[in-house]
C-alpha cells in the first residue's frame, strides 16, 4: 500500500475499498461525492452502486464510504447487442 507507515493517525484515517473491481485506498468517511470529485468524474453521467445497492444522486454527499466497501461507478459506452 502506498501510504506512509509509522504514522498511526494516517493508518487510522485510510480504508481499503474495491472500486470497479480494483483494490484502492481512500480516506475514511470520504463520501461518494468526495470520491467522484477526487477521481474527476462528472457525476451527471454516471451511476454508483455501493455494496450492490444503488446510491441515488441526491445521496452522494451524505453517503460515506467505509472499509471493505465495494463500489461500482458506471457510465454509457459504445455497444449494440451483446
Amino acid at each position: 500500500m502506498p501510504y506512509p507507515t509509522g504514522y498511526g493517525f494516517f493508518l487510522e484515517s485510510l480504508v481499503n475499498i474495491t472500486l470497479n473491481g480494483e483494490l484502492k485506498t481512500v480516506h475514511d468517511n470520504i463520501t461518494v461525492l468526495g470520491l467522484l470529485e477526487f477521481l474527476h468524474i462528472q457525476h451527471q453521467r454516471v451511476a454508483v452502486e455501493l455494496n450492490e445497492s444503488i446510491v441515488k444522486k441526491d445521496n452522494y454527499g451524505s453517503t460515506a464510504i467505509k472499509n471493505g466497501d465495494i463500489l461500482e461507478i458506471v457510465s454509457f459506452m459504445g455497444g449494440g447487442t451483446t
Binding site: N20, A47, M77, G79, G80, T81, T82
Partner: protein, 259 residues
C-alpha cells in the same frame, strides 16, 4: 411518411432505424455513421468508468442526448440478476427510463435466455422502467413479455452479428398477429435488403449495429440502411401485389395491330 411516427410508451420516435454504437473505429466514425443513418435512437452499453485513464473520451461527448434518444442496454449480462443491476444503474444515470433488456443464454449463439429475460422484465417493469426486451422469434414469449408490461418486443432476425437476415419471417408475422405492440427486429440483419424485408413484413423498426459498423464503408452502409428502412416501410404501407405463379400482362390487349 407524414403521420407515420412510431410511439412506444408515449415516446415518439422519428426514425424506424435504430442503431448501436459498438465496433466502430473511433467515436468520430460512430458519430458520422449515426448522423448519416438519420436515426434518432442509439443504443449504448453500461460499463465501468475507466478510473485510471481519465483522459478517455466519453461517448456522450459525441452523441448528444438532447438530439438522440439514448437506449441503454444490458448487453453482456448472462443472468437476470446482472441484467436487473445493469438496467437499474442505467436508469439511475438519469438520462432515460428506456432499457433494452438482454439476458444472454449462451456465448456461442448469443441467443437470449427467454426465461431469465421474463424474470428480469417483471422486476424492471415494477421499478418503472420502459422495458424493451431482446427475445427469440417466439410468439408465446412475446405474449408473456407484453402481458407483464413490456410496451414493445425485440425479436431477433438471426444470431447477433451473423448478418443472416430474418431467418423465420413466418414467426415474425405470427408475433405481429399475437401481440398488439410495436415489433422491433433486433440483431442479425446484414444489409439494406434485410431491413427493407423486415419493414415490408410490417415490423415497426429495426435495430442494428454490426451490419453498419462492420461494413467495408460504414458511413455508406449507414445511408443504405436509412433508405432500406424507408423503402421497406413505404412498400408495407402501399400494400404489395399478391404473388402469383403465372404472368399477368401490364399492357392493354385492345388496339393491338393486326386484330
Amino acid at each position: 411518411m407524414i403521420d407515420d411516427k412510431l410511439v412506444i410508451a408515449g415516446i415518439e420516435f422519428k426514425s424506424r432505424l435504430w442503431v448501436g454504437t459498438g465496433k466502430y473505429k473511433d467515436f468520430a466514425e460512430t458519430k458520422k455513421a449515426i448522423e448519416v443513418s438519420g436515426t434518432d435512437v442509439v443504443t449504448v452499453s453500461v460499463r465501468r468508468v475507466n478510473i485510471i485513464d481519465k483522459s478517455k473520451e466519453n461517448l456522450l461527448d459525441y452523441i448528444d442526448p438532447k438530439k438522440y434518444k439514448i437506449l441503454p442496454n444490458t448487453a453482456g449480462c448472462y443472468t437476470a440478476k446482472d441484467a436487473i443491476r445493469t438496467a437499474m444503474l442505467a436508469a439511475e444515470a438519469g438520462i432515460t427510463k428506456l432499457v433494452k433488456l438482454e439476458v444472454i443464454g449462451d456465448d456461442k449463439t448469443l441467443f437470449p435466455d427467454n426465461e431469465a429475460t421474463l424474470e428480469a422484465a417483471k422486476v424492471l417493469v415494477k421499478e418503472g422502467l420502459i422495458v424493451l426486451p431482446y427475445m427469440s422469434d417466439d410468439p408465446i414469449m412475446a405474449k408473456k413479455l407484453v402481458d407483464i408490461g413490456c410496451p414493445a418486443v425485440m425479436p431477433l432476425a438471426a444470431p447477433i452479428g451473423s448478418g443472416l437476415g430474418i431467418r423465420n419471417p413466418y414467426n415474425i408475422r405470427i408475433i405481429m398477429e399475437t401481440v398488439k405492440v410495436p415489433i422491433i427486429v433486433d440483431a442479425g440483419v446484414g444489409t439494406a435488403s434485410d431491413v427493407a424485408f423486415a419493414m415490408e413484413l410490417g415490423c415497426d423498426a429495426v435495430l442494428l449495429n454490426t451490419a453498419i459498423a462492420g461494413a467495408k464503408d460504414p458511413i455508406a452502409m449507414a445511408e443504405a440502411m436509412k433508405y432500406g428502412v424507408l423503402g421497406g416501410r413505404l412498400a408495407y404501407k402501399a400494400g404489395r401485389i399478391p404473388k402469383k405463379l403465372y404472368a399477368t400482362a401490364s399492357s392493354p390487349i385492345e388496339g393491338m395491330i393486326g386484330n
